[in-house]
Symmetry: C2
Subunit: 219 residues, 2 copies
């Protein structure tokens, strides 16, 4: 995975901790995640994060540069955990379409666990600059890179139609994320089962009606 971090516009050198406490850092990230889930990046206030974590604002600044740094670290953390689950699904046994469907199930689990937090992470990530460009571009690239080998395998085994695997991976990742945001915004109108069926059927078969299978005719 490509190393990425928040852009640090401040020239001021942050006070370095001799013995940073990973538990304190995690408490700050968990507190911030709760706030982002409810109200997005705009609702994030450092005072509120510190208070919720039971730490001082001074301690906060020992671990993070500020709001943007904290948000970027959280999105990176979530993305990496999601990618681990996707990679696990992609590396199970079975056909390429079966493994892609297991990846989709892991993705939908993640969306349901985070609900509106998923929308905040996705939409706010599109304006935050990191050392690897916009945070959302980094996340899309990581997702597409994880999916691409599976598409290449499917194309070379004949399970999938030959096409540019990078564009296909990007198209699948962009479409899946977009439909999940749409789903969360219209939660009462579609069940998970409807969204799942659509996200399996549409990329598989596209818009064109299926030609009657030659094999069905010849039987």
């Amino acid at each position: 995975m490509k190393k990425v971090s928040a852009l640090r516009p401040s020239k001021r050198e942050r006070k370095k901790l001799q013995t940073p406490n990973p538990e304190a850092r995690q408490r700050l990230m968990d507190a911030a995640s709760d706030i982002i889930r409810a109200g997005g990046y705009n609702a994030l206030r450092i005072e509120a994060v510190a208070e919720r974590a039971g730490l001082s604002v001074g301690t906060f600044y020992l671990y993070f540069e500020g709001k943007a740094d904290l948000f970027v670290e959280i999105v990176i953390d979530y993305t990496e955990r999601l990618l681990d689950r996707l990679q696990e699904a992609y590396h199970t046994e079975g056909t390429v379409p079966e493994r892609m469907t297991r990846g989709l199930d892991a993705y939908l689990d993640f969306v349901e666990e985070n609900e509106l937090g998923f929308i905040h992470f996705v939409q706010d990530a599109s304006v935050l600059e990191t050392t690897a460009g916009r945070l959302s571009d980094w996340a899309f690239q990581e997702h597409a890179e994880a999916l691409r080998p599976l598409l290449e395998e499917g194309i070379s085994s004949g399970e999938m139609r030959p096409q540019n695997p990078m564009l296909a991976a990007q198209a699948l990742v962009g479409m899946t994320q977009h439909i999940c945001v749409f789903w969360l915004q219209h939660h009462k109108e579609y069940t998970r089962q409807q969204i799942r069926s659509f996200l399996i059927g549409f990329p598989a078969a596209g818009l064109t009606p299926q030609a009657p299978r030659a094999s069905a005719r010849s039987r």
Copy 2:
């Protein structure tokens, strides 16, 4: 089209002009568009907009509440102009797939005209709140609503596979926008022709290899 405008957090009543000058307003919007194209929303400074338009900062505030208001108005303006071109393409003669391809060509023209400005409009729009939710959600909804009747027509004529037309419209819009952002970020790696072919072929046929056509066998 749904009426939409920037959220106005300021309670202060803006000074109303007795005889607003549409030409001054347009000059401010054009100046701001140039700045956004080069550097995005973050680069937008009201002083710079006024200077570029040859007007005073005081005059600026007679026409716009501030930065967010101005940006939202510009994105709405661009989106409406793009939607007009898409609607024109969708209402030409021909099969549904032919008309969709003409819409895609109009979309790709727009992307090429605006280049990096397209990325800025798209990504910054995802964090700006309007009276109809996030600006990007409004734009997606308008695009999907414009496309949906065409999909419904294709499904009912048998030119397209039966499926949920709203989800299919959202999937097409989300995927097309995402691939165009990806294209602009990797401009040297893909030609317009490659992107166009992909954006016709992938939604049409999906991932699955085509079954040999029964008609081809029976001939």
